[in-house]
Amino acid sequence: MMSAFTAILLRDLKLALRTGGDWLTLALFFVMVGIVVPFAIGPDRELLSRLAPGIVWIAAFLSVLLGLDRLFRADHEDGTLLLLRLSDLPLAGVVLAKLIAHWLLTALPLLAATPLLAVMLSMDPPAFLRAVVSLLVGTPGLVALGTVGAAVTVTIRRGGLIAPVLILPLAIPLLIFGVGAITTGPGPDQSGTALLLLAAISLIAVAVTPFAAALAITSAED
C-alpha cells in the first residue's frame, strides 16, 4: 500500500516536471504581484513594509487557489481517477498523495520566491523570516482546503474557477492568521499566537481533507 502511495506521489511530480514550466507559472504570478504592488503604491518604504505581510499572503493565497483545478482534472479526464478507486490504497490515501505532490509543486516554489518579494516590499530580515515560516505553516492548510474544492468540482467541465470561489470563505481564517503571524505591531506582539492558530487550522484541514475529498469524488460520479 505504501508503494502505491509513493508511486502516485512520484508520478505526479514526474508528470509536472516533464510537462515543462506549467507549475512555475504560479510562482511567477506570486512574484508578479510582489513586483506590481510597489509601483501601484509608490516608493514609500515605510508604508510598503507595513503592507508587506498582507500582500505576501494575498499573492500566495491567489496563486495557490489558481492552481487548484489541475489537481484532479487530468486524472479524472483520462480515467485514471476511476481506476485508482479500484486499487487497494483507500481513496483517501490517493488524495493525500496527490495533496502532498501538489503542495510540493505549488507552495514550495512560492517559498523559494519569497526573498524576491521581501526585497520588493522592503521587509526587514526578521519580518522576512516570519513570512517564510507563516507560509510554510499556512500553505498546507490552504492546499488541503483547495483539494476539497477541487474534488467537489472535478466532474464539472471547465469548472476552473468554481473551486477557488467555493473554498474562499473557508480559507479566510488562514489568511487572517497567516498575516497575523507576520505582523508584529501596532500594540503587543501577537505573531506567535497567530502562528499557533494558523498551525492548528492547517493541521485540521490536512487531517480532514483526504476523507472529505474522497467522499466528494465517490459521490460526484454517482
Partner: protein, 207 residues
C-alpha cells in the same frame, strides 16, 4: 500467457438489478450469473446502458434497485480490473513507466512490464512516450495494465475499440487465457469476439 496462477472459484450473480445514470433508469430487471471461467457479453444499442451496468458492477454507481454480489472472493482487497473508454494512459510517461505505475499501484504479481508489453505487441516501443502512440496502440497499452496485476474479475467496455483485426484476435486470446485461469469477465461489445471459451453468456439490453 499462461503463467498466471489460477483464481479461486467465484461467481457473480445479479437479481432484479436496475442501473441508473443520474435519475434516469437505463436497464431494469437484469438477472444473470457469471461463474468462474465464464464471460458475459453485453449487447445493445448505443445508450442502452452497457457502460452504466459495468460502472455499477465496479461499484462506482449505486444500482437503482435489485442487487448483485461477487461470491467466493475477498472483497476487502481489490479484485476488479476495469477497461473503460478512457485509457488512463499518461502521454508524457513512456510505455514502460505507465505500466510500472499501475504495477506499483495495483500490486503487480503478474507479468513483468516488458513481458506484458510483448504480450500486447508493444515490445519494440516500450521506451517511447505514450503520447506518440496511435489510438489502437494506446488501447493495447491499456490492456497490458490488466496483465501486470492478476485480478479475477475483468470488466471490459468495448475492449476491441480502435484495434485492428489482429488486435481483436489478441484480445480474444487474452480473455480466453484469463477465463482458463479461472477468472470471469463481463464485456460490452458490438463486434463478435472470436472466443474459444465454452461459457459465453449474452445479455441484451434494450434502451
Amino acid at each position: 500467457m499462461t503463467l498466471r496462477q489460477g483464481f479461486d472459484p467465484l461467481i457473480l450473480t445479479a437479481t432484479g438489478l436496475a442501473c441508473r445514470r443520474g435519475e434516469r433508469v437505463l436497464a431494469e430487471g437484469l438477472e444473470f450469473t457469471v461463474p468462474s471461467g465464464g464471460i458475459l457479453l453485453l449487447k445493445g444499442a448505443n445508450g442502452a446502458g452497457k457502460t452504466t451496468l459495468l460502472m455499477t458492477l465496479l461499484g462506482a454507481l449505486r444500482p437503482a434497485s435489485g442487487r448483485f454480489a461477487f461470491e467466493g472472493v475477498d472483497t476487502e482487497s481489490a479484485f476488479i480490473h476495469f477497461l473503460g473508454h478512457r485509457n488512463a494512459v499518461k502521454p508524457h510517461l513512456t510505455l514502460a513507466e505507465n505500466l510500472a505505475f499501475w504495477a506499483s499501484v495495483n500490486g503487480g504479481g503478474g507479468l513483468s512490464s516488458p513481458a506484458a508489453l510483448e504480450a500486447v505487441g508493444l515490445g519494440p516501443v516500450a521506451g517511447l512516450d505514450a503520447g506518440y502512440l496511435s489510438a489502437g496502440q494506446t488501447r493495447r497499452l491499456a490492456l497490458a495494465r490488466l496483465l501486470v496485476t492478476p485480478r479475477p474479475v475483468w470488466l471490459l467496455d468495448e475492449p476491441t475499440a480502435a484495434l485492428d483485426t489482429q488486435g481483436e484476435a489478441m484480445v480474444a486470446a487474452l480473455i480466453d487465457a484469463h477465463l482458463t485461469a479461472g477468472g470471469l469477465a463481463v464485456a460490452a461489445t458490438h463486434l463478435p469476439l472470436p472466443l474459444r471459451s465454452a461459457r459465453v453468456g449474452e445479455l441484451r439490453l434494450d434502451p
